[in-house]
Symmetry: C2
Subunit: 121 residues, 2 copies
DNA sequence: TTTATTGTACTATGCGAGTAATACAATAAT
DNA sequence: ATTATTGTATTACTCGCATAGTACAATAAA
């Protein structure tokens, strides 16, 4: 998996989201050391300052801890990771249902839409 | 319904989306004249230039037609409106399922999530 | 102790979004 | 024909994001 910087949203936000996703999926396992700011910046093709800002957000969300000179490590608290995963999923479903509701679709319509979309894959 | 400019995304995009939503919901019925650029800008609390950019997008999407001096009117082609509505709903569901998939949830998990979220409302 | 690596801080620059003020063009209303 | 209203265009300004380059602080490794 590589880095996708497509949106017109701030790059550091997109980087934080994708770093978070990697942690949630276990691509960066609990307790494991994360690549350094400079290395990840090189991978993603962005400025180290931008990646720095993105990675600092991981600590705000308690998904990583940073010791001054030994780099950052993914949290060993798997409960935090699981909770973040469920919350992200819940938010995605809620957003979708909100849009459908705005468009005038009933909850039962929503279920039909989901089933229909599933069949297309 | 008033205007929500919360995101950090370009304001004109958010305005276009909300104008579109009003047309899809019938708040601005087919064939009806839309308020002028200056008036809508005042309502939303944005610069007329920004609203101008947003409303021009409606014509790109064939949801409105603009005659030079008589303002813009909502398209009378209800098929276009219906198609836009279905497409918007489909995209919302697809986005949601994509996120759930990224998090490692199976399609059946996705359905459960939706049903669960529906019960919370 | 020395060195290299790590996170962090700082300043400067370019670019695009949004704002602001104004002017112009076209035409429906009078 | 005149006037007011409409969409459109132009210019200048401010601000935040991203980049670039450099420097500093702390500490694990040698």
């Amino acid at each position: 998996m590589d880095w996708k910087l497509t949106d017109n949203r701030p790059i550091w936000q997109q980087l934080t989201e994708q770093l978070t996703l990697r942690i949630l999926k276990g691509e960066y396992p609990p307790g494991e050391r994360l690549p350094g700011v400079r290395e990840l910046a090189a991978q993603a093709g962005v400025n180290p300052n931008t990646m720095q800002r993105a990675m600092a957000q991981l600590e705000t969300g308690s998904l990583a801890v940073g010791s001054r000179t030994a780099g950052r490590t993914v949290t060993e608290n798997t409960a935090v990771i699981e909770a973040a995963t469920k919350e992200r999923a819940r938010a995605a479903v809620a957003d979708c249902l909100k849009i459908l509701s705005e468009l005038g679709y009933s909850p039962s319509d929503a279920l039909l839409f989901v089933k229909e979309e599933l069949n297309h894959e």
